[in-house]
Amino acid sequence: MTRRLRWGRTGWNLIALAVLVVMVFPVYWMVSTAFQPTDEINDLTPSWFPAHPTLQHFRDAIDRPYFWNSVVNSVTIVGVTVAISIVLAFLAAVALAKFRFSGRKVFIVGLIGIQMLPQVGLIIPLYVVLSRYQLTKNEYVLFGVIITYMTFALPFAVWTLRGFLLNIPKELEEAAMVDGSSRLGAFVRILLPLVAPGLVATSVFVFITSWNEFIFAYVLLSDQSKQTVTVWLSAFYGTSRQVDWGGLMAGSVLAAIPVLVFFGFVQRKIAFGLTAGAVKG
């Protein structure tokens, strides 16, 4: 019996390792290609790992036109989106988690419903409205993009922060008030430190979603000097027949690194938070 069990587990482990290889291979292949010299890449027999690693493709990618422009644009757009959406969303999340008021249910349904709207269905009205207020003009277009990013950042941030706030035991808050703190004092000294990890996690997720966003940026940022990193990467090979695969993969690695770093950081917290309610709900 135990022997059969052990063999069974070995079998499952082997299957799991096969799944792991298949899933991770594209990521490995991206990194591996990015470090291979061009003649190795273009060889009809692929090299499974970079035997003569080179940083040339990274230099090429960084030296391509508009790389640094796009990094600055992405950082600007993402930074402002995160800052505005977290502040506004935190206020609304406090209202949702700590108060009862009429219209609350409508507000919640609205928040969940908005997150279900396909973004591609919104590009036309957003484009037309923004152009009406001159926000597609080159000087203001980054601001226009930030506005469109709010359409997904705000509902998500409100809903997630509300969840983090609800997880704080109200006894803590009440204890502070009994000890003579005002409601605001209790809020600043008890609630804020407790919700800080939630604020960080939510900010990181808004950061990642905005950094990865493609369609709004693609539609609104027609001028190359204004494009974000994802649009820069999507236009990498343009119309040329001979694709610079090494450069493309190096560019991909560069675009993925910020997300990778932040994602590894908060993944556990969010994955748990996201699923905790759905199981029993």
Partner: protein, 323 residues
């Protein structure tokens, strides 16, 4: 792009209920504070969403091309845009293709995701940690990056996919062009989408599996139930709510997908034979500068998605609200 936009699934309803029972004294004293707190978000959503959606409805009844875009006002033409969309066979072909595409993608995502989650339970801790780390790595890949990697792996000149398939003796795939036919290019898009969506599904279902009572599984086994029977009668009922939420989310995301088909198939191969709804809306409305027609298509698409999300939103409100 919605796949990597995490959607918050409500927390434990009981925790919510606990935090909600405030003393009635305060409830009566502070309602204005609540309205003050949500006001900024309500105003922001009104400006960035409600107004554009009102404009979307209006645009769909107007002729609105580049000329009108410069003049900032459209020309009322009634139901004309709807008439031309609904009489366009490309529209109906696209709807049908998108439905089939969505069913295939959602089926594969949920099916494979559940299988991998079940696998996670059965393997040694070290392998489990490795597989989880691999899944998180895949999860964190930006969509546009994933598209470029798949494009490189599947290109016909020296893509590694053709090489591997040929080496495995599955046929001669040297210089095989995956983007030459509709079915095969949409299959590549499916591969990309399922690959990217699996980590979220696996992690979520795996968390759900932790809720399955071990005693029940044991009891079923003692009573002589095989693994399939145990899964169907013990595990599945516990997983059902989570699978329903994941399925409706996936349907909504895959139905409106844009970046993956648009970028992977590429502008040189995109045409009426391989449109999905997202690509169709983009090309008809924005690409052809016919914003009125595009608005009509967008609205039809939003109505279809709204119909599909009614179930999901109800489920969420039930789980997340406390009233």
């Amino acid at each position: 792009m919605k796949r990597d936009a995490p959607v918050a699934i409500p927390y434990h309803a009981a925790a919510a209920a606990g935090a909600m029972s405030l003393p009635s004294r305060r409830r009566r004293r502070f309602p204005w504070a609540a309205y003050g707190l949500i006001l900024p978000v309500v105003v922001a959503i009104g400006v960035i969403l409600a107004y554009p959606i009102y404009q979307l409805v209006r645009l769909s009844f107007e002729r609105y091309g580049l000329f009108e875009l410069v003049r900032h006002s459209g020309h009322w033409i009634g139901l004309h845009n709807y008439g031309s969309v609904l009489h366009d066979s490309v529209f109906w072909d696209t709807v049908l293709r998108t439905v089939v595409f969505t069913i295939a993608n959602v089926g594969l995502t949920i099916g494979l995701g559940t299988l991998i989650a079940l696998l996670l339970v059965r393997i040694s801790p070290i392998v489990r940690v490795l597989l989880t780390m691999g899944l998180v790595l895949v999860w964190s890949m930006p969509v546009v990056v994933a598209v470029q990697v798949f494009y490189w792996m599947t290109n016909f000149e020296n893509g590694v996919l053709n090489y591997i398939l040929t080496k495995l003796q599955l046929g001669d795939f040297i210089n095989h062009d995956w983007y030459a036919s509709t079915f095969s290019s949409l299959s590549m898009v499916t591969l990309l989408i399922v690959w990217g969506a699996l980590p979220f599904v696996v992690v979520t279902v795996y968390a759900g599996l932790a809720q399955v009572p071990n005693e029940l599984v044991e009891a079923a086994r003692v009573d002589g139930a095989g693994p399939l029977r145990t899964f169907r009668d013990v595990t599945l009922p516990v997983l059902k709510p989570i699978l329903l939420i994941l399925t409706s989310l996936s349907i909504i995301w895959d139905f409106g997908v844009f970046a993956q088909p648009y970028l992977l198939i590429g502008s040189s191969h995109i045409d009426a034979t391989n449109y999905l709804m997202g690509v169709y809306v983009y090309i008809k409305g924005y690409g052809n500068h016919d914003f009125g027609l595009g608005a009509a298509i967008s609205l039809l698409m939003l109505v279809m998605v709204a119909a599909m999300s009614v179930f999901y939103v109800r489920q969420m409100v039930k789980a997340g609200d406390v009233e």
